[in-house]
Amino acid sequence: MGTISSAFDMISGALNADQSALSIVANNVANANTPGYTAETPNWRQNDPIQINGVQYGDGVTETGATSMRDSVLSARLDQQQQLASASGARLTALDSVQALFTPDSGSSSSTAGDIGNDVTSFFSSFSSLEAQPTNNSLREEVLTSASTLAGDISNAAASLSSQRSALDQEASGVTSQVNSLTSSIAQLNQQIQSTSPNADAGTLEDQRQEDLSQLSQLIGINQVKTENNGLAVTTTSGQLLVSESSSFQLTSGSVNGATHFFVGTTDITSQLSAGGGELGGYLTARDQDIPNALTSLDQLAYGISTSVNQLNNTGSDLTGNTGTAANPLYIFNEPTQVAGSALGMAVTMTDPSQIAAAGAGMGTGDNSNAVAIAALGNESLMGVSNGSTPTGFFSNFVSTLGATVSGVQAENTAQNASVTQLQTQNSALTEVNLNDEAAAMSTLESSYQAASQVFTMLNTLIASALNLGDQTTVA
C-alpha cells in the first residue's frame, strides 16, 4: 500500500527532475550560438516500481542527465565532404589567379595589350609586312618591337605564374602549424574522454573534439576511426597516422628541390596530402599540377617560336648581306637551350633592325624570301609540339584547356558546396539548438513543475490535517 510520505518522495523527486531538465533547457538556450555546441536533451527514467502485498505501485521519475543529440556517422560524412569542398575551393582560388593572367581579348583596341595570342599574331604579321618592303627600316623596327612585346608578355606571364606558385607554397606551409595544434588538441581530448566517459557520449568534450575534427577537415583530408573506450584515431586519407588515442604525430615541412614538402617523422607524405583533400590538398594540386602545366605550355610556345625564328633568321641574309655564323649568330630571341624555363627567359637579344634577315641566303637585300618563310612559321606547326598546331592554335588550345580546367573545378566546387550545405542542414537540424523547441520544452516543464508543486501543497495540507486529527489549528 502506498503511503502519503511515499507520494511526498515521488513528487519531490519529480520537482528535482523538472529542475534538472529546466537547467538543461537553460544551458541549451545559453549555448544557442556557441559554435560546435550540440543540443542536449534530458533523459527521463521511470523509477522501478515497488510491489506491496502483490500490488505494484509506481515510484516516480528521475532525470539521469543530458544526452547530446549527435549522429557521428552524419558528422563524419559532413567532414569528408567538407574536405573535398575545401580542396576544390582552394584550388579554384589559385586557378582564378592563373586564368586572370590570360583574360580573353574582347577584340576592342583598348584590350589588346598583354594578350599573348595577339602578340604572336602581331609578331608574325610584322614579317608579313616586311614581305612588302624588305628593306624598309621602320618595318624592321616594327618586327623588333613586336618581338619584344611578345617576349615581354610571355616572360611576364611565366614570372607571375612562378610567383603565384611560391605564394601557394607559403600558404601551404602555413597550414602545418594549424594542423599540429588541432591534432594535439584532439589527442588531449581523447585522453580526457577516455578517462571520464569511456562508455557513453562525453557531451561537451565530444563537442570540442568534433569541432576540432571539422576544422581539421577544412585543412587536410582525414579518416576518422573510432577506437575502444570512446577514443578516436585520425589518419590522412591515405592512412598515415596523425592521432592515435592520446598521442599525436606532428606534421613537419621542409624544402625539397625548392618546394615545400610535408613529413610525418621521416615519411614524405606530400603527394598523399595533395590527393587527400582539404585546403592543403587544393594548394598542393594547384602548386604541383595546375601551375606547372600552364608553365610547360608557355615554355613550349616560347621555345618553339624562339628556336624556329632564330634558326631561319640565322640562315637568311641581313640588310648588309651577312649570314649568321657560329661566332655571330643572327638571333632575334635569346636562344633557349631547353624547353623548361624558355618562357621565363624569353627576351629579344637583337638590337639592330638591319640584322633581320629578310632575304634568302646569298640573295640581294631586296629579296623577301626569308621574310616570307618566317612569316609562314605563324601558320606552320609549332616546333617541338607533336600535335602539329600552329603557334596561335597552340595558344588557343592552351587557353581552352585552362578555361575548361577552371570551369571544371568551378562546377566541382559548386556541387561539393551544395552537398556540404545539404549535409550541414541535416546535421544542424539534429544538433543545433532550436529555440522554438526549447520554448516548448520550457513551457511543458513549467506546467509539470507547477503541477508537481500543486500536488506537493495538497499533500502538505493532507498530512497536516492527518497530524491534527481534524483540529484545524495546531499544525498548519
Binding site: 583574360t103 640573295m363 637585300t365 631586296g366 616570307v372 578555361g403 522554438n436
Partner: protein, 303 residues
C-alpha cells in the same frame, strides 16, 4: 520533423550568390563583353584567339597590299612611259630608214634616239623609296649602266632575276616585281638596250646601212612588244592584289561579326537576367526580414 534552426544563414548565402550574380551581370553590361574570364566559356575563349589571329592577319595584309600596290603602280606607269618612248624611237627609226633623209637629219634622229636611250635607261633605273624596282633582289644597286667604250655601246644589267612574292592570308602568292633583265635585256631580239644602242650606232655617222638599220628597228619593235607583255604581268599583280584585298576585307568583316557575336554581351538577355536577379534579391531580403523578426520566435509568446 526537425528543421535546421539556422535557415537564415542559408538565406544569407543565397543572397550573397544573387548579389555576386548581379555584379557579374552589371560588369557585362558596362563593359559590353560577355566573356571576362576563360572559365566562363573555354571553347569560345579558344575560338576567340583563332578569330582574332585571322582578323589581324587580314588587317596586316590589307596594309601590306596598299604598300605594294603603290610600288606596282609606279612600275606600271614607268613601263607605260618606256613603251611610249620606244614607240617614238621606232617611228623615228622608221622615218630614218626610208632613205629620203639627208645625213644631218639622220644624225639628228640618231641624237634623238640616243636621248630616248638615256630616258629609257633612267626609267629602267627607277627607284621607289630608295629601292630600285627593276633590279630583282639587288635593290640597292643601279640596275642598268652603259659603257660607251665600244660601238655600239653596251648596256649591262647589274641586278638579278630574283622574284618577290606576297603571301595572302588565303595562301595565294602574288608576284611583286619583274626583274629588269626580264623586261629590258631579255634573250635574243627582246633586248631593248642592245636594239637602241645599235640604232644609235647606225645613225650617228649620218650614213645609213639600211639593211642593218631596218633589222635593228625590227629588233626594237620586237623588244617593245616584249616590254608591253611584261607590263601585263605587273598589271595582273595589281589586279590580283586588289581582288585579294577585297576578298580579305569581306572575310575580315565576317570574322569580326563572328568574333563580336562570340564575345559581346547581348544587352537584352543580360538586362533580363539582371532584372530577374534583382527580383530574386528583393524577395530574399523580404523573406529574411519576415523570418528574422522577433514575433516569429515562440519565446516571444511565453508569458
Amino acid at each position: 520533423m526537425r528543421v535546421d534552426p539556422s535557415y537564415t544563414a542559408n538565406l544569407v548565402g543565397a543572397l550573397d550568390q544573387s548579389q555576386s550574380n548581379e555584379q557579374q551581370l552589371t560588369a557585362e553590361l558596362s563593359s559590353g563583353v560577355s566573356i571576362t574570364s576563360l572559365s566562363q566559356n573555354p571553347v569560345a575563349s579558344g575560338e576567340n584567339v583563332l578569330l582574332l589571329n585571322s582578323i589581324q592577319q587580314d588587317d596586316s595584309f590589307t596594309q601590306s597590299s596598299n604598300m605594294v600596290t603603290s610600288q606596282l603602280q609606279v612600275a606600271d606607269s614607268t613601263l607605260g612611259s618606256v613603251v611610249s618612248q620606244l614607240t617614238q624611237a621606232v617611228s623615228l627609226a622608221t622615218s630614218a630608214n626610208n632613205g629620203t633623209m639627208n645625213p644631218s637629219d639622220v644624225k639628228s634622229i640618231g641624237n634623238q634616239i640616243s636621248g630616248i636611250l638615256d630616258e629609257v635607261q633612267s626609267l629602267a633605273n627607277t627607284s621607289y623609296q630608295g629601292q630600285y624596282i627593276f633590279a630583282g633582289g639587288q635593290t640597292s644597286t643601279v640596275p642598268f649602266t652603259t659603257s660607251t667604250a665600244t660601238s655600239p655601246a653596251v648596256t649591262t644589267y647589274n641586278g638579278d632575276g630574283d622574284l618577290n612574292y606576297l603571301d595572302t592570308p588565303n595562301g595565294q602568292k602574288i608576284q611583286l616585281n619583274v626583274p629588269g633583265s626580264q623586261i629590258f635585256s631579255g634573250v635574243g631580239t627582246n633586248n631593248v638596250f642592245s636594239a637602241l644602242n645599235s640604232l644609235v650606232a647606225d645613225y650617228t655617222s649620218g650614213t645609213v646601212n639600211t639593211a642593218q638599220a631596218v633589222s635593228d628597228t625590227q629588233a626594237l619593235g620586237t623588244a617593245l612588244n616584249f616590254v608591253s607583255q611584261q607590263r601585263v604581268v605587273v598589271d595582273n599583280s595589281i589586279t590580283q592584289l586588289s581582288a585579294a584585298s577585297d576578298a580579305v576585307t569581306s572575310q575580315q568583316t565576317q570574322l569580326t561579326t563572328a568574333q563580336t557575336n562570340l564575345m559581346q554581351a547581348d544587352v537584352a538577355t543580360v538586362s533580363t537576367q539582371l532584372s530577374l536577379s534583382e527580383t530574386q534579391q528583393t524577395a530574399l531580403e523580404d523573406v529574411i526580414s519576415q523570418l528574422d523578426s522577433q514575433s516569429n520566435s515562440l519565446f516571444s509568446k511565453l508569458q
